[in-house]
């Protein structure tokens, strides 16, 4: 077993976010500043303490560029990254901040994703001619993400007997979690029937299998474990991370994601096994992708995620609570950085601060979404492209 040299050497020390809406009414720059300054304040730091910046986007450069943020706050940075990588890079964004801190290049790195994806649809007019990989899909009308990832789902259904009713159970459980989350965009109750009666978008996905689009921002601050001990909140340590990226829909086994490739080294890197995971926040642009992530990261045996969620084992008091904030499906789509935000909240001594509890957490599931006594969280990005193991102090 080879543990990663970064194990427990860095921590998430600050978290911030804007409200998640369908119309922010402001620029991604202002969203970044709101979330970023909130995260810096949460950490007990000053803006000038930030000396590294990481952000990412997918195809359309609709986040705030690092140099614009550095200019807006008059920061002197030692390292800046902006990646065109999308949701598969969610955990890589945090991991590269970890690496910059662990290498001694930066002291405090701000990681963020800001977007006006719901209200700013201006980029959606496609060109008429397509080169690169798209030349083999666009002429056939299959560039839509649901059409791309749907193949993985129908292959899994044919191989293991997974059904769209299994998808319904996952969607309903995550909606229950979102109903206990003040910042979630979709909080009204959903029934199995609601799911099964919703219209088809791209078979095997109905409307309620698909995540929403969001205006909003999430920001996180990463510092060294040593420095973290003097900051405002108890640190949440990064045990290990992997960023294989990979093509979610082009694995040798069509029903798997890149997760199967990075999971062994992820767990070895942290010196744990999947059995040690207390809860998980798994990328879920479509219901099925969350199911396959459960399997690919070893939380559930291959092919058994359908029965697992139908039995409710992914609930807040289940065997492994999954997407405790509601996920991309019901909380918001902030390119998965909201998954890391939730994991950090759950692992802090005071727990989540935006459920419906007043004062101490009660574990009464009509108000409380705090997981009982969690120690270790698994988070993964789209198609198992990146992943992190986090632990409480």
């Amino acid at each position: 077993m080879t543990e990663q040299p970064i194990k427990d050497k860095t921590a998430v020390v600050g978290i911030g976010h804007t409200s998640f809406t369908r119309r922010s009414g402001t620029s991604v720059g202002n969203l970044t500043l709101q979330a970023g300054l909130a995260a810096i304040e949460d950490a007990g730091l000053k803006p000038k303490d930030i000396d590294g910046i990481v952000t990412y986007f997918h195809e359309h450069m609709n986040t705030m560029p690092p140099r614009a943020l550095a200019r807006a706050l008059n920061l002197d940075c030692n390292f800046q990254v902006m990646a065109d990588a999308g949701g598969s890079w969610t955990c890589s964004a945090l991991l590269i901040a970890v690496m910059a801190v662990h290498a001694g290049i930066c002291k405090n790195v701000l990681v963020y994703r800001s977007m006006n994806t719901y209200s700013d649809r201006g980029h959606e007019r496609p060109p008429r001619e397509f080169g690169g990989e798209d030349q083999f899909v666009a002429p056939f009308g299959t560039r839509h993400p649901a059409a791309n990832f749907g193949h993985c789902a129908t292959a899994h259904m044919a191989k293991f007997g997974t059904t769209t009713l299994d998808f319904a159970h996952l969607a309903v459980t995550q909606r229950q979690h979102a109903s206990l989350n003040k910042k979630a965009m979709m909080r009204s109750p959903m029934s199995i029937e609601d799911h099964q009666n919703s219209r088809w978008i791209v078979y095997p996905f109905r409307l309620l299998d698909c995540c929403q689009q969001t205006d909003g921002a999430v920001a996180l601050v990463v510092s060294s474990a040593e420095r973290a001990r003097d900051l405002a909140h108890a640190p949440v340590y990064i045990m290990s991370g992997m960023g294989g990226y990979g093509d979610a829909a082009a694995q040798e086994e069509l029903w798997e994601t890149n997760g199967v490739k990075i999971a062994p080294a992820l767990y070895e890197g942290a010196g744990i096994t999947p059995k040690d995971v207390s809860f998980a926040e798994l990328y879920d642009p479509f219901t099925f992708m969350c199911l396959t992530h459960m399997e690919d990261f070893g939380l559930v045996k291959k092919g058994e995620s359908g029965p697992f969620v139908t039995a409710g084992h992914n609930g807040l008091d289940g065997q492994i609570p999954i997407n405790t904030h509601g996920g991309l499906l019901s909380e918001a789509h902030v390119h998965g950085l909201n998954h890391i935000l939730e994991a950090v909240q759950q692992l802090r001594p005071e727990g989540v601060r935006d459920d419906l509890c007043e004062g101490e957490h009660t574990f009464d599931r009509s108000v409380c979404r705090q997981v009982r006594d969690p120690e270790i969280a698994l988070v993964c990005g789209e198609g198992g492209g990146s992943a992190l193991l986090l632990r409480r102090a």
């Binding site: 008429r128 080169g131 030349q135 649901a146 129908t154």
Partner: protein, 144 residues
């Protein structure tokens, strides 16, 4: 103006690696590269073999048949095909390619309720412009 010239849907831009594939389609043949050094099939087309890193290859004419390895049925398309929904897109594994040549393409002559994983299919070439021919597929049994 002829029907062909009026084609207004997305078209591919062939490049140095893929031009021979599209040339094959125009000749109503499916073509893919096979590594001259180790015999591995390459898909999508690329300069180097991902198995042995040889730059040598030859273009081979493939079977006209394959099977459906996975599929989706598009009921809502925010892109270029809202007038054609619902339509079926198959992930077609071409016969005789060691499961390496897999193409996402239209499955025609079958409904979303009828299509199944494992179903045998055959290519049907559609000449959409003077330069471009698209390979689409229909079920081998009972072509309508």
């Amino acid at each position: 103006m002829t029907e062909v010239e009026r084609y207004a849907k997305p078209l591919p831009i062939p490049d140095e690696d893929t031009a021979e594939f599209w040339k094959g389609c125009k000749a109503h043949e499916l073509r893919a590269q096979r590594c001259s050094a180790c015999g591995a099939w390459r898909w999508p087309p690329q300069g180097i073999c991902p198995e042995c890193y040889s730059w040598d290859f030859e273009w081979r004419t493939l079977s006209n048949t394959g099977r459906v390895s996975s599929f989706v049925v598009v009921h809502h398309d925010p892109g270029a095909f809202p007038d054609q929904v619902p339509y079926v897109v198959g992930n077609i594994t071409i016969d005789g390619t060691d499961d390496r040549v897999r193409m996402r393409s239209r499955l025609e002559g079958i409904s979303g309720e009828e299509v199944q994983v494992g179903m045998p299919v055959r290519v049907r070439f559609e000449d959409v412009t003077a330069e471009i021919t698209l390979p689409k597929f229909t079920p081998t049994a009972g072509i309508r």
